[in-house]
Symmetry: C2
Subunit: 183 residues, 2 copies
């Protein structure tokens, strides 16, 4: 899979932050020429598709500073260093939604912005959902509203751009297919 | 849609690049506390779902430095300043694949990484495909291999992580649904 490889000649670290780092690499192209690549490093994340007993998708509304508005997404969270994605997914599901799952099934891992970032999201299906005794446990600086959304409502929210991110758009399509097979 | 708004108190520009910029904002949270947000600015992009007469999806394989490997994606390209997304999509389709479309239909716009980037991808369906007289016209520094992939092959490529980015994963699900309705 090293077709068209771009070899690193030099790498300059521009910024090291809390969530992301930025570096600029000089690369040599397959034709011998050189170019620059601006690259964001991100620890990766998990996201979870979970259905209530009524086959509604559990979602959260939160403010996204990068977009300067709130959007509706499936539950998700960044990977902590050394944490297995399954563990992060179980933790985020319980903390953000107050549900626990009997079993997690990996649906798909995907890169969100392969042109400039190494972020990969591991998307899980949470099977056998139960209300945790504690309910959702949010950090005091976390502002999130919980929603339960049918596939039809989710499709309308996509048209209205209230659902507006790639992982949730994919999750809605996947949920539609899964529920139509299951029924 | 300003629920849970995070107001900007201060904004520091860290880097201005060819493709992305980076800034760090101090924000005030709904509870009055402050926090930092690391934010990547990106011009946005278009991506195109296009079927050959045999209902294969047109894809391109290219090296992605951020992932340090080549992956298989639907044709895509960055928005140029002031360019309408439809125009960019027509241009990228013809340049990358050598096909022109009679008509473009917006499938969905979505944010790729709402946690740290403002990048939005406008995903189009290209209808009425014709081979352009010129064929694909690549920049001399562009290394891209053209592929025609059936939905079944694309689903296998997702399992093998050769298709590995969110826009293409979404596009494959959409194509599957579209072709099953059409047939």
């Amino acid at each position: 899979m090293k077709k068209f490889e771009e070899k690193t000649i030099a790498s300059k670290r521009i910024y090291e932050g809390k969530v992301i780092n930025l570096k600029v690499d000089d690369v040599s192209l397959p034709n011998g020429k050189t170019s620059k690549r601006e690259l964001v490093e991100h620890p990766g994340a998990v996201a979870i598709v979970a259905f209530t007993p009524e086959n509604k998708i559990i979602m959260v509304e939160q403010y996204r500073k990068a977009l300067e508005r709130s959007i509706i997404e499936i539950p998700a969270g960044k990977l902590e260093k050394g944490e297995a994605p399954e563990y992060t997914a179980m933790r985020e599901l319980e903390e953000e939604t107050g549900y626990t799952a009997e079993k997690l099934e990996l649906i798909q891992s995907f890169s969100t912005s392969p042109g400039f970032a190494d972020e990969v999201i591991h998307l899980f299906f949470a099977d056998g959902l139960k209300k945790a005794t504690n309910g959702a446990v949010l950090d005091e600086d976390e502002f999130v509203e919980l929603l339960e959304v049918s596939v039809e409502e989710a499709e309308q929210m996509m048209k209205d751009n209230r659902i507006y991110d790639a992982k949730t758009a994919f999750a809605v399509m996947w949920a539609k297919q899964r529920l139509s097979i299951g029924n």
